[in-house]
Symmetry: C2
Subunit: 231 residues, 2 copies
DNA sequence: GCAAAAGTGTTCATAATACACCCATGT
DNA sequence: ACATGGGTGTATTATGAACACTTTTGC
């Protein structure tokens, strides 16, 4: 710090924060994990989780640290969404914030979060008012998620390791808020050649049974086509 | 500052900078405006221009301020590209930097910049070594530019107010480093319905002459299709 | 046998690509 | 008259969307 100020002659410094937008999927519905804010200002209101960026780490590392500290989750891939820097966006002071989103499996990891950390899952269609500009952050993250899902097959994180094409289609239905045609969706997804079919069927949703699929190893996956047409 | 620290109990603060990636177009070639760095560290080496984010402004405003101060350019639309936050990315100290790109007209505005501000235009194909991680910033900005140009018609800023379709095609050729088919390019661009043809021709490049076009007013422009297929 | 999801096939409309060909005109 | 870039038209292929149809099996 001394060193830097000597060289750069005391330019202003800022609090820099990261905020995590945690998406989950359950019961044909895209969900968002929200927390009751623990400290003032706006203590007790619904909020994303966030934390400070420290001296010796990147914003990505800071974000992973926040996620681990406040939810116990580790090694979840996260996507950077945007920067928020209006001087008055946080009534507690001038904070520059960088947002990331994560996709997690509600079945596997979501339930204990609700208990241990006082978190709650909300449908993205019925979100409460969030503190500061967090609603805007969520909207931006959802836009980024839709964009990412248009060129990369989502499911990793949100679904179980093994899933049926119907489950995947329901996930896409919920993310894009529309009904994909079953036949066309299946053809499109299989044409990407990123999934491999297992010799196992899920009989919970039909008598005939639907084959389970899983992702090929990451290093065998390459995306060359669009999956969803955004307009 | 007092206020904020009282509430937030002294989390670390950071120097936050913005960096401007300035693209231009001249002689069928996409160019980048570089400057000799004025202050240590790395004084005298080729660099992007940048500056500090102040207390009372957004990063977008800081970026506009830098551009105005260091080039005299005002009101140029800029696109945010990414954040760079490796703790050791700037040997002068821990600086978190946010990059933006701008498109400017070399003919109209570029020449005096070279004289007044000691700047120099480089072909993006033959860039010198830049300080810190600035080469990475440029690469990221170019990727973002290509992406933006795939769903929005570029030319605003880079070309003159009035331009021919051949000029526009040459611009696209230089940005994507490939040869667009003249006939198909023209059909694609006109199908977007964002240009209007003028009753004027440019005879400098052919005997027959090519019609000038200009953009329709912004509020009449809407993009629904892709222009370039990225793979 | 029938309902219901799984899965396949067919058709039609649209978009991308390659490329042939006409136009205008200065030399 | 011909070379050159401007501009138009056409054939081929690839892709997307709509939807009919077949399969399987529990009830």
């Amino acid at each position: 710090m001394q060193n830097m100020q000597r060289i750069y002659q005391n330019p202003p410094t800022h609090l820099v924060a990261v905020d995590c937008i945690i998406f989950g999927y359950e019961q044909e519905d895209l969900k968002l994990l929200l927390f009751k804010r623990q400290l003032p200002p706006a203590q007790g209101e619904w909020s994303l989780i966030g934390g400070w960026v420290n001296e010796d780490c990147t914003v990505e590392q800071a974000n992973q640290h926040v996620l681990k500290t406040l939810t116990g989750l580790e090694g979840i891939p996260m996507e950077q969404v945007s920067i928020y820097s209006k001087p008055d966006r946080d009534p507690g002071g001038r904070v520059i914030s960088i947002s990331f989103y994560a996709l997690i499996n509600v079945q596997e990891k979501g339930k204990e979060l609700e208990k241990q950390f006082g978190a709650e899952w909300f449908s993205v269609k019925e979100l409460p008012n969030l503190i500061f500009d967090h609603n805007e952050m969520v909207a931006d993250a959802l836009r980024k998620l839709r964009f990412d899902g248009s060129k990369t097959l989502l499911g990793h994180g949100l679904l179980n390791e093994e899933f049926t094409l119907s489950q995947l289609r329901s996930l896409y239905n919920s993310i894009y808020d529309k009904e994909f045609d079953p036949g066309n969706f299946r053809k499109k997804i299989l044409s990407l050649k990123v999934l491999e079919r297992l010799n196992k069927k899920d009989f919970s949703e039909s008598k005939k049974g639907a084959f389970y699929y899983k992702y090929k190893p990451d290093n065998e996956i390459e995306y060359n086509e669009r999956i969803v047409n955004l307009k």
